[in-house]
């Protein structure tokens, strides 16, 4: 045991060297670039299955509930693809730092709106219930303490997170088991969730090399994308890009139907 802990200590020197190496790589970036792009489904657009409300039928049964695991628009756009900058210590644009405006996650019509919410560390997430029935929001965070609070009809409560999560944390309602949503917690503003037409935009990134993390609830880490018919394998859903000052269009990224088979 004594020998082993000495071994742990002896590697501190190595890590100090590493820290120096890393520090020298941090470029001074004063140029900022905005990235945008679109995710398109590679294959015939699937239709989302309808869900049956078997609890609180008199309220929830009035709404058309769909399985939102994979939402593809008529034009092939994939909604709810999560894109964020992987580097926790990335330089942050002065205008974008320290967001304090609460992000709303509403329990509305017996579903979560939005399906995926993005908050920064310290930024409040407002859990609201616009329905006339009670809900609860069970948030399965890994690095933050998990939480599960009742939210009475018409009520709302705020929650903040202390640590970033490597992937979105699932939000469920135990009373209405079909309800599923997600919360992404990151330490900076550099994240986006693709909208109904599959488009996304992240503003004011520091110019230079950036590693994006691509994730989708059904596909997990997106392992392959193809742009203009050229397929690219991306290990662990990490896509390296070069951000130039100004606008950067990543174009239309096609995600093959096979990625969503899970």
């Amino acid at each position: 045991m004594i020998r082993r802990s000495t071994k742990i200590r002896s590697t501190i020197g190595a890590s100090a060297t590493l820290a120096v190496l890393l520090a020298s790589q941090v470029a001074v970036a004063d140029d900022w670039g905005t990235i945008k792009g679109r995710f398109k489904f590679g294959g015939a657009a699937p239709t989302a299955a309808e869900l049956k409300a078997d609890k609180d039928v008199e309220v929830c049964g009035k709404h058309k509930l769909l399985n939102e695991e994979l939402t593809v628009g008529a034009d092939g756009g994939i909604a709810n693809v999560v894109v964020f900058v992987r580097d926790k210590d990335v330089k942050v644009h002065p205008d974008a730092a320290g967001a304090k405006t609460p992000v709303l996650m509403d329990n509305k019509d017996c579903r979560f709106e939005p399906h995926i919410a993005f908050v920064q560390i310290g930024q409040p997430l407002t859990l609201k219930n616009s329905d006339t029935v009670g809900h609860n929001s069970n948030i399965a965070t890994l690095k933050n303490p998990p939480s599960n609070s009742l939210i009475a009809a018409g009520a709302e409560s705020n929650l903040t997170f202390k640590a970033e999560e490597a992937i979105p944390a699932q939000v469920t309602c135990n009373i209405h088991p079909w309800m599923k949503g997600w919360v992404l917690v990151r330490p900076n503003p550099y994240a986006a969730i693709s909208s109904a037409d599959g488009t996304f935009e992240i503003k004011n990134l520091p110019a230079g090399d950036i590693e994006l993390q691509l994730w989708h609830e059904k596909a997990g880490y997106i392992g392959e994308i193809s742009v203009k018919g050229k397929s690219e394998k991306i290990a662990k859903g990490r896509k390296k890009i070069k951000v130039a000052a100004g606008d950067n269009d990543l174009g239309e990224m096609v995600l093959d139907a096979n990625l969503f088979k899970k």
């Binding site: 045991m1 501190i12 009670g134 009475a152």
Partner: protein
């Protein structure tokens, strides 16, 4: 121990690692000379579900095992780093094979009393685990249900002591009230040790994904990372557990019990507290019943992923892990409140804690913030009245099957 293929790792996991055979040989020589029946050394099992889920390579699995041994020792020879906040002397009383020490004190308490269900590793994969319903607790995720602290917080030393002394009614967890205070204290410390070890292991396994490419798939073996970033955040939560107990106001003394019960009944069925949704219109636990607790849910969700994957070799490996390192998932029925059996304790205070904080790891949400303390007391009073309500009060419209379960 230099296995090169996943198959080798599998072989070393369930059984005896190759290098330990040397130790066994040495021991055999010792036994040959002393003539006493020594127990072969015990090993912690790797969290194969998480390791396979995170697609660790055999090299990475070995690194996790090595790091954990360095930080926590072995089941026969536990180590408590100062940052863990654990008392190594207590751990030594609980660890190892059952035996008497030099002053005739019994050691190896965990293996004598706990390991057959909770497993040597505290992974709830002991030999009897599969036969129990509910399954024994897996300490490794660090989630405990019955405690005096807020939902996400760790239980206090006193909370775990209470569970050991009282047992958990309605489950296979018996009372260990016949053990001495010292022995119970040692066992509680050992449960904490296994839990901190298990959560550290999860932290290490999950850290691989976040490595940068230039780390070449290897975790940094620095004290700063292992102790500072992985162990300490876990240990800190245990150390501070007793600092933030749930503040329970006295039950209002002037309260009229019948009125309180009536108020509680209203809340039970109302859409603010919403107890009725899961515990059912009869309170027999016949509401929402197809949900899973966190332990089972993670297996259910992962199974879906394994079944859906195109990666056949990973799927084969994952299926082996599901067969050998997890139990068949079960749904968690909401508690039948008419039995008068309360797993987390039958004191009004225990029921207050359960309602206020919810039950960590289970679907039961926290009423904190939604239901004022006085109303929680009304619900407690109503729940306590339920086992003694007359059958007729269930209502004539209730199905017979529900009444049979009464």
């Amino acid at each position: 121990m230099n296995p090169t293929t996943p198959a080798d790792v599998d072989r070393t996991r369930g059984h005896v690692p190759a290098w330990s055979i040397k130790i066994v040989l040495v021991l055999l020589v010792v036994i040959g000379t002393t003539g006493c029946g020594a127990t072969p050394p015990a090993w912690f099992r790797l969290n194969m579900v998480e390791a396979t889920k995170q697609k660790l390579t055999p090299d990475q699995e070995r690194q996790v095992a090595t790091l954990l041994t360095a930080m926590f020792g072995t089941p026969d020879d536990p180590v408590a780093l100062p940052e863990s906040g654990l008392d190594e002397a207590k751990l030594r009383l609980a660890a190892g094979p059952v035996r008497s020490d030099i002053v005739g004190r019994k050691n190896g308490l965990y293996r004598e009393h706990c390991a057959h269900c909770h497993g040597v590793t505290g992974d709830a994969l002991g030999p009897t685990a599969a036969f129990l319903n509910p399954y024994p607790r897996d300490y490794r995720p660090g989630i405990f249900k019955f405690k005096s602290t807020e939902r996400a917080d760790k239980p206090t030393h006193a909370d775990l002591t209470r569970i050991l002394k009282k047992g958990i009614p309605g489950t296979s967890m018996p009372s260990f009230a016949l053990l001495s205070e010292t022995q119970i204290d040692a066992l509680v410390e050992y449960v904490k040790y296994l839990s901190i070890r298990g959560e550290t292991e999860l932290g290490l396994i999950r850290a691989y994904f976040e490595l940068d490419d230039d780390a070449q798939g290897k975790l940094p073996e620095t004290r700063e990372f292992l102790v500072g970033e992985v162990l300490e955040p876990v240990a800190e939560k245990w150390k501070t557990a007793a600092d933030a107990l749930i503040a329970v106001p006295e039950m209002p003394p002037e309260i009229d019990l019948a009125a309180s019960i009536a108020k509680g009944r209203e809340l039970f069925y109302g859409d603010k507290a919403n107890c009725v949704k899961c515990h059912g219109p009869t309170a027999l636990g016949d509401g929402q019943a197809n949900d899973y607790d966190d332990w089972n849910k993670s297996i259910v969700e992962w199974t879906k992923e394994v079944v859906g994957t195109d990666d056949k070799s990973w799927a084969n490996r994952a299926h082996r892990v599901l067969d050998g390192d997890s139990l068949e998932p079960r749904t968690i029925p909401p508690r039948n409140l008419r039995l008068g059996i309360y797993r987390g304790g039958r004191r009004p205070l225990d029921l207050y804690y359960r309602i206020h904080a919810g039950i960590n790891g289970a679907p039961m949400p926290a009423a904190k913030g939604t239901i004022p303390p006085e109303d929680i007391w009304h619900i407690v009073n109503y729940i306590r009245s339920l086992p003694y309500e007359l059958d007729g009060e269930l209502g004539a419209d209730r199905p017979m099957v529900a009444r049979d379960r009464f």
